[in-house]
Symmetry: C2
Subunit: 765 residues, 2 copies
Amino acid sequence: MQRPAFEGPWKLAVRPYGPDEDFRYGSLMMSGNGYLGFRGGFPDFRKEEYAGCIVSDTYDCADGKWKELCTVPNALFAEVRLNKRKLSIHDSVDSRAGHALDFRYGETSGTASGTDGDLCMNFHRFASFPHLHCVWQRIELTSETGCRIDFLGGIDADPWSLNGRHFRTMELDRESGLLRADMVTSESGLPVSVVSGLRIQGTEPGPELHRERTGLYLVLELTVPPRRSIVIDQCMSVYSGNDTPDPGAAALKDAARGMSAGFDTELMKHRAHWDGLWQKYDISIDGDEEIQSLVRYNTYHNVIATPAHTDHLPIGARGLSCQAYQGAAFWDQEIFNLPMYIYTDPPAAAGILSYRYHTLPGALEKAKRLGYEGAYYPWISGDSGEELCPDHFFIDVLTGRKIRNHFNDWQIHISPDISYAVWEYYRATLDEEFLRTKGAEILFRVGQFLYSRVHYSPARERYEIIRVLGPDEYHENVDNNAFTNYQTCFALKIAAELFRRLEREDPDHLAKLSSRLGLAPPRVAEWEEMAQKLYLPQPDPESLLIEQFDGYFRHEDILPGPLAERLQKESEYWGWPNGIAFATQVIKQADVIQLFALHPFDKDVIAANYEYYEPRSQHRSSLSPGVHALVAARTGNMPRADEYLRRSLKIDIADTHPPDSGGTFIGGIHTAACGIAWQIVVKGFLGMEVSVDELRFQPRLPRGWNKLALSLRIRGVRIHLEARPDSLSLEAEDSAAAGVSVLVGEDRGILKPASRLVFNGKFVQ
Amino acid sequence: MQRPAFEGPWKLAVRPYGPDEDFRYGSLMMSGNGYLGFRGGFPDFRKEEYAGCIVSDTYDCADGKWKELCTVPNALFAEVRLNKRKLSIHDSVDSRAGHALDFRYGETSGTASGTDGDLCMNFHRFASFPHLHCVWQRIELTSETGCRIDFLGGIDADPWSLNGRHFRTMELDRESGLLRADMVTSESGLPVSVVSGLRIQGTEPGPELHRERTGLYLVLELTVPPRRSIVIDQCMSVYSGNDTPDPGAAALKDAARGMSAGFDTELMKHRAHWDGLWQKYDISIDGDEEIQSLVRYNTYHNVIATPAHTDHLPIGARGLSCQAYQGAAFWDQEIFNLPMYIYTDPPAAAGILSYRYHTLPGALEKAKRLGYEGAYYPWISGDSGEELCPDHFFIDVLTGRKIRNHFNDWQIHISPDISYAVWEYYRATLDEEFLRTKGAEILFRVGQFLYSRVHYSPARERYEIIRVLGPDEYHENVDNNAFTNYQTCFALKIAAELFRRLEREDPDHLAKLSSRLGLAPPRVAEWEEMAQKLYLPQPDPESLLIEQFDGYFRHEDILPGPLAERLQKESEYWGWPNGIAFATQVIKQADVIQLFALHPFDKDVIAANYEYYEPRSQHRSSLSPGVHALVAARTGNMPRADEYLRRSLKIDIADTHPPDSGGTFIGGIHTAACGIAWQIVVKGFLGMEVSVDELRFQPRLPRGWNKLALSLRIRGVRIHLEARPDSLSLEAEDSAAAGVSVLVGEDRGILKPASRLVFNGKFVQ
């Protein structure tokens, strides 16, 4: 494997291009804009090379099992032939040849050359941010000696698709000089249209139409003059029936508009848009170039995975990098991706949370189907909130039998996780309007669900949560999972708290809402009692350890390394029902450490549990290293913070997580790990906590970090933060907002609009 | 396989002796007396032929995993050699050759001959009932022409043992003309002694001592005169340190006493004892010879499995036929074996129930260990009540991985089953003394356990029982199992009822008892509320079906035959965690039918559920056919009653249940199936029900049964019952007891001591 490396602060490149790595590079070098993801790879890549443009909001189930987003026909396909031989990166021996991504602007590029090294092709591609439906590609061809080439460009309508063919009809046509493909999806019957525009500069084309069963192309014979490049610009636009009633017309119009504006103009607007995004999201680190680039690279992927343009789409667990995990939201969205937006771009965060509001019907339906009340959010949420997680997906590779994993019916923490995110959003923004109109219903519906899911033990005089699956998915069917119980308690508390506040402050609205929800004050009193008496596993007085679930400490105590020797096949699933980890203390990820990332605990308790759980965690989940980094950073465990920070930031670049688990494809960009990068720095190294009353910091910069700079938006105030080893400065822009109380260590100050606060201290460890 | 067949009403024989069937015949032809079980087989059989004498109350764990009863040295070993060649049943070609059991008197016998057919050996063996520690054997040798033989007889100290060698020391010696073996068990350190006596009639012996590492024998050269048999009598006696402080002395004394009395005298006393037993237990059926023999054969095995001589030993799931199932009690004991004794021999029943009283400490310890209160009886109960069921015993034969079956921690119905049996005993006997001194504590301790095990769902406003394993062991980890919930409700109700009665009638005793148990009236009120609000799955108004557990009807609906085609290996375990039946409606046995055997339901409900569950049951449990026979007989479903009656009665004779399951040996006599034979006739065909107020019958004799006669002992009254197609007669012996109210169909009468009641009706179907 040829590992990608950073070239300068903003570029990831792989040179030479490694063989058999098309899938990985296609994810790593992708361009995207939250509406669509255009996988990396060269213009001539087809499905064999995992070419694909994944479009949001196009759910379709083609194989009867996996509902997923469609990969649409690739309208930027281009192939160059010299002497009948295709110019291919796989044959390129030139030292310039390679593949790269400029993640400042989301520009994918590459260089390939002919086998004799004379003809050279550069391409350059970006998914436009100002025009979300457009992707642009520029191909430049140069030759020392000059040559004649054959060029084929247009629509490859047979791109890579994970689970079945998603278009039951497809019409390919030429109209107004543009190529178009009009499809209807197989199961959902959604119209989707793709349009391809082509412009050639520097030579005279003589285009002819070439039609294949699965493609429509323009064919040209072109002269590449000596030492003067010719330039071919391609524009693709795509719409689905969920975007507009007539996606064909819209795609045509958009492509025509784009072709008329031209590549350079479009690129300029696109870059300006990204400059604006980085003003919100960038973390500038002076003192560690690798970490600097890694943090930005991960943030880039969080941004392009996020449909910030709308309030009814989710952040997929693999973003739009491929169809894996169905383009769907998991709890990752709220706990890993969202916080960056909560603290920097509240409207984007509100949009994502609104998605959970709009998908309440699916959550209500799921709860009802399983015999519960309220909102049991889906483990894998489709755009309409229906549960996408099938009963069976892993295969017992030793027997060939399917495994009934209970992710979809026992992993209940998803619902309180969403309540937690609503509350985190509210604490940071004090957005009363959102809370009133959307958040309240989410919180109340989740409260209703939890109330119906929790049991009371009369003998132990406490409420218990029986038979769940925590984030550590190796241990299904456990009771009183620490993470789940604490989250449940929190969700019940805030739901009741909000209800009480609305009773005082907005009784009319509450009356309407609770009447619609069938919710009465005595029930809220029961929530309060339930939260009061819910069993929360406490630190053992001696060891300070919190048991991950009832009986965990009685499981066989073995570490992941020795345990792995019991594998009969490498690809075995380690968990339920009879995988090697199931009856041991080896965990996929550490629920108790995850708990510390969300709730305050004594430092000693955190340290003791970290020591215990960290070596027992396999970190098979890509969520795990980041959480370990965050908690280690927050508690001053700097060696571990550094180790896990790098490990988390490199999950995709170093390819530490295999794209297959128990026979299910799970490749692509690990969006949650990308999302937690920002949190590790801000909640970890800066120790930021936001309560309803104040903003707290407890900075602990890694040695060598001279300066850390970023922006926040708290309670409507834009704050520029600059941390150095001996100072923390906060500067608020002017606004109509009130001041924010700030606590740094023991020092307190009020940060008012258009003012600056500086705290001095020892902020390095 | 050579199938055994009945020869006359009381004899089961196999002729010729089939090859490779030593294990099966050894169980089928065994002799026993509730203290020990002496396996069938010929005198020269060693461990290779599964020779073994299993002695109760000798628990020992030799392999670190399986605690089981010991097979003691075989002091009845005898080998006959003619011209240096062993006389063996396996070489016998004579038509007389074969193996048999007279189950009227528990006499094992066999005939073998030399290869030339001239020398013939008959042997005859019985485990004495009047002298429980003695087993007798007589060998007769005959020859047409006369011959000289070599005889070797004495102690084979290396018998068949299932899980390891149970004696860490062994001394073999000769004393007072007797051979003795003195052992100490490996793990439990229990002394065990065996003594062997030998007497020869009809020829002059010249014994010499022959010692091997694992045996001590007398060697004789004997003349067998022409046409005059010589007779060799052997007496074995065995004691353990749990029987007497000096087992060696006791064994010597017993053998000396026996040798002095002689074989014929001892046999006479033994037969007289059996005559007395059959007066209590026999069911006489006129009109179906096969069923007659089968019912008696099964009753025989129930009797020899039952330690009626003591109040501190259990009935093992395989009796004393081998070491399988550890010689230990399961719920089989209370629900399958016990009822025959309850209604015919109350002191024997009280002894078995007292075993549960004496083993309360083990049940309390188990509950405590698992986080509960009260008495959680062990799934596999050792003699001291400790849980013998290991966490792992089945092996996933496809992967070689061990399976964590949750028989020991989730199969909670064992505790209420024991309460049910206590109540059944009380209803039949009105034995207030037992109830007060032992039964009450069992009922209250079980009540405490159930109270701590049940959860309340505030949303559903009912108590629920989460995560159990019902009798259908293919479906672990289910909620609200119908059988378990009804039994739990019943057990809570009767515990509370008894408490209330003692409050009124015996407050001083109750005060002492409840103080010792930490039980106060408010808690009993909570039991009453729990029983009141415990969720009992009700018949669906349309289909009348009762769901076996929450969600059962949503499982894949497939029948056992087609399902079996999914097996990859014949020996696969079908259940948890990922066996072929786990996610389907195929059940090992039918919990809802089992429920009908214990609790009253509408006839239509029973019929509808029988139709549904019966074809979905694999009847892999040997308990299943008998329960189906009982319920079918009681509800007049005569074709099914006949089918399942024969199937249940033939489980051992027809060898329908393999001796291995998932790598665990489970061979031997299916004692519970033997025990239910009596119940099928009495509770099924006679429709007997005993309430606290009266004795009810609803006779439905199978066509062809001209007369059915048996005896009962109800409330101290011995009743001779005779059922015919058109009449039912009940004759009470004289006694001091009060009369019993009897209801037959709609007719009622009072059966007084020394009187007779005759009911006429149509009692055939």
